[in-house]
C-alpha cells in the first residue's frame, strides 16, 4: 500500500474525481452491507416458531360442545360458545390490562379491575376500553374445530356446523 501523500496529488483534479468515485463506491458497499446486516439481525431475532401454545389449535369435534355451552379454556385463553348450530370463540383476555376474565351469568367479568362484558363480549362496565375480540373458528378437513387466534373477526359472526 502506498500512503497517499497529501498536498501534491490533491492538486491534480483527475485524481480528486477518481478518489471521489472510489469513495462513493466504498461508501455504497459499506452502507449496503450495514443495512443488510441490520435487517438480517432483525429477522434473526424475530422467532419463526415459538415455544408456547400455538395460536392456531384444534379443540375437538363439534359434537363435543352441546348447544348453549360457554366453555372457557383457560390455558388457551379463549371461550368457546355454541348456540344451536352456531359456534364462536371469544377471547378471555381482558382488554384493559390483560387479566383472564371469568365467565359469569351475564357475560364476562374481570377480577382485576372490575371490567364487565356481556355475552358477546361488549363492554358493559368498568375500565375496559374495547370489547373482547372474537377469533376465527373454522372446520378443519379432519372434522375438528380449529381456532385461529391470529385472525380476529367481526363480533357476532359465527361458524355454522
Amino acid at each position: 500500500m502506498k500512503p497517499a501523500v497529501t498536498p501534491q496529488i490533491e492538486a491534480d483534479g483527475e485524481a480528486v474525481t477518481r478518489r471521489k468515485v472510489l469513495s462513493w463506491l466504498s461508501g455504497f458497499g459499506l452502507f449496503g452491507s450495514l443495512i443488510i446486516t441490520a435487517f438480517s439481525n432483525l429477522i434473526f431475532i424475530k422467532p419463526r416458531a415459538t415455544y408456547g401454545q400455538p395460536n392456531r389449535f384444534s379443540i375437538g369435534k363439534p359434537e363435543d360442545f352441546p348447544s348453549g355451552v360457554r366453555l372457557s379454556l383457560d390455558t388457551r385463553r379463549v371461550c368457546i360458545v355454541r348456540d344451536g348450530d352456531k359456534m364462536a370463540a371469544i377471547s378471555t383476555t381482558c382488554t384493559h390490562l390483560g387479566c383472564i376474565v371469568s365467565v359469569s351469568e351475564t357475560g364476562f367479568s374481570c377480577p382485576c379491575h372490575g371490567s364487565r362484558y356481556d355475552q358477546d363480549g361488549t363492554v358493559t362496565g368498568g375500565p375496559a376500553p374495547r370489547a373482547l375480540p372474537w377469533y376465527q373458528v373454522s372446520l378443519a378437513p379432519n372434522g375438528e374445530i380449529e381456532v385461529d387466534k391470529d385472525t380476529e373477526i367481526e363480533p357476532g359472526s359465527y361458524l355454522r356446523v
Partner: protein, 440 residues
C-alpha cells in the same frame, strides 16, 4: 460551528439538523493536516490512534494486519455471540435443542452459528500468527516487553474463551472435549483438583459446568479480554508505535509540518508548535506529557517518515476489516459448524477429539498426562512470558528474520514447528483409541 449562539428559537429550529450533526462530528472531512490530526483525536473511536503513523507500520508485508484481524474477529465474535444469546439457554436439557432450532428454524441461525464458530477458530489462528510476527520481527524488545507479556496473556485468554465456548452446544464433542480438558487441569500440582472443581462446580461435567462455562464465556472472559486488548492498544502508542528498524528514523528529514493554530490543537501541541520553530532535532522533549518518558512526543517535531493517520492508517484498517469480514462470511456460507450427537455420558466417541488447536496438547497428553498437559505447556508459557526479559540485546528490531537474531528466531520457529507438527499428527494421524492411522 458548535459554539454558535442562536438568537431566536426559530433559527435554532432551522439549524437543528446541522447542529446535531456538528455536535457529533466536530470537523468536516479534513482537507488540511490540522484537520487530519484533529479528525483523529476528536473522534472517540479514532482517538486511540496516533495522529501520525510511521510508514513502516503501514507496510502490509510488515504486519500482515494480523493484530487487527484478531481484533476484528473478536469484534465479530462479540456481535454474533450477543445475537446467539437471544436463543441460547444454558441448560443441559435445552442447549442441544436450541442448537437444532438454530439449524432448522431460526432465520440466519445456522449462519450466525457458523460465523461465530469459524471466527473463533480464525481468531485463535490469527492471534498465534500475530505472536509469530511479533517474535520474528523482534518487536518484543524494550520498550515493548510488557506489551509482549500482555499479548501472551491475550493468547491464553483467547484459548480459554474458545475452550469455554466449546461446551455450550452440549453435544458429544463438547462434553468429551471438556471432560478431557478439565481432567488435564486436575493434573496441575497442588491446586489441580480444586481448579477442576471450581471450573465444573461438581465432580463431573454437568448442568453446573454448563452454567459456569456459559458465564465465563459470555461475561467474565470477554470483559477480561476487552480490558487486556485496550491496554494492549494503549501500550502500542505508549511504546512508540509499531517497531521499526532504528535507521528508518534517520532518513533524510521530510518536513511536513503545518503551523498549528486551531483551537482544538492548542492544548496538545503548543509545545510542539513552539519547538517546530527551531530547526533542531530534539531527541526528547517535555510538554504537558513531559512526565512520560519515551519517544512518543515527537509529533510535528522530529523530521521523520510518518504520515497522517487520517486517511492512511484508517483506510488500511478498514480494508483489513472488510477482508476479514468477507473471509469469515464466505467460509460460513460454505461450511457448516459441526454439531455431533447429543451428549451421552455413558458412551464417549472414539476417538474423542478436542478442537484442532488443542490437538497438539491432546497429542502430548497421550504420552504423559502431567508433562504433556501441565508441565510442558506451563514451561512454554513461562518461557514465552520471559522472552523479552531474557533476550535484552536490542538488535534486529523491526525487520523480519534479522540475521542478528538467528538463534532466537530458530529457537522460536522450532517451538512453532513442533507445535504445528503435533497438531497435524493429532488432527490427521490419530484414529480410534488414539492409534496411529494414515489419513490416506
Amino acid at each position: 460551528m458548535s459554539n454558535q449562539t442562536s438568537t431566536s428559537p426559530w433559527k435554532a429550529m432551522i439549524e437543528l439538523p446541522e447542529n446535531i450533526w456538528h455536535s457529533i462530528f466536530r470537523n468536516p472531512l479534513p482537507s488540511s493536516d490540522l484537520g487530519r490530526a484533529s479528525t483523529s483525536f476528536t473522534n472517540f473511536f479514532l482517538h486511540l490512534h496516533p495522529v501520525k503513523v510511521h510508514r513502516n507500520s503501514l507496510r502490509a508485508t510488515f504486519t500482515f494486519g494480523l493484530g487487527l484481524i484478531s481484533f476484528f474477529l473478536f469484534f465479530i465474535l462479540v456481535v454474533t455471540g450477543i445475537l446467539l444469546m437471544f436463543y441460547y439457554v444454558p441448560s443441559t436439557s435445552q442447549a442441544y435443542d436450541r442448537m437444532l432450532d438454530l439449524r432448522g428454524t431460526v432465520a440466519f441461525g445456522i449462519f450466525l452459528r457458523n460465523l461465530h464458530r469459524w471466527s473463533a477458530h480464525g481468531m485463535v489462528a490469527a492471534v498465534f500468527l500475530h505472536m509469530c510476527r511479533v517474535f520474528l520481527t523482534g518487536s518484543y524488545k524494550p520498550p515493548r516487553e510488557f506489551n509482549w507479556v500482555l499479548g501472551v496473556l491475550l493468547l491464553l485468554v483467547t484459548l480459554f474463551m474458545s475452550f469455554t465456548g466449546y461446551l455450550l452446544p452440549w453435544d458429544q464433542l463438547a462434553f468429551w472435549a471438556i471432560t478431557v480438558g478439565t481432567s488435564i487441569a486436575s493434573y496441575a500440582p497442588l491446586v489441580g483438583k480444586q481448579v477442576k472443581f471450581l471450573l465444573l462446580g461438581d465432580s463431573t461435567v454437568g448442568q453446573e459446568a454448563l452454567l459456569r462455562f456459559y458465564v465465563l464465556h459470555v461475561a467474565v472472559l470477554p470483559a477480561v479480554l476487552s480490558l487486556l486488548v485496550a491496554i494492549h492498544f494503549w501500550r502500542i502508542r505508549k511504546d512508540g508505535g509499531l517497531s521499526r528498524p532504528a535507521e528508518e528514523d534517520e532518513l533524510a528529514p521530510q518536513p511536513n509540518v503545518e503551523v498549528v493554530t486551531g483551537p482544538a490543537l492548542v492544548m496538545a501541541t503548543s509545545p510542539a508548535a513552539a519547538a517546530a520553530a527551531k530547526p533542531v532535532l530534539q531527541k526528547r522533549q517535555y510538554g504537558i506529557q513531559g512526565l512520560v518518558r519515551g519517544p512518543f512526543t515527537k509529533i510535528g517535531n522530529v523530521p521523520d517518515r510518518s504520515v497522517f493517520s487520517w486517511p492512511n492508517l484508517f483506510m488500511a484498517e478498514l480494508v483489513v476489516f472488510l477482508i476479514t469480514v468477507a473471509g469469515v462470511l464466505l467460509v460460513s456460507l460454505y461450511f457448516n459448524a459441526p454439531l455431533e450427537e447429543p451428549v451421552n455420558v455413558m458412551h464417549p466417541p472414539n476417538p474423542a477429539k478436542a478442537p484442532w488447536y488443542f490437538l497438539g496438547l491432546q497429542e502430548q497428553v497421550s504420552y504423559s498426562a502431567f508433562w504433556g498437559g501441565v508441565g510442558i505447556p506451563t514451561l512454554e508459557v513461562v518461557l514465552l512470558l520471559l522472552v523479552p526479559y531474557l533476550d535484552r540485546k536490542i538488535a534486529g528490531v523491526g525487520r523480519w528474520f534479522a540475521r542478528e537474531r538467528l538463534l532466537a528466531n530458530s529457537l522460536f520457529l522450532t517451538f512453532v514447528v513442533v507445535n504445528v507438527i503435533l497438531i497435524v499428527i493429532g488432527t490427521f494421524f490419530r484414529g480410534p483409541n488414539w492409534e496411529f492411522v494414515s489419513p490416506w
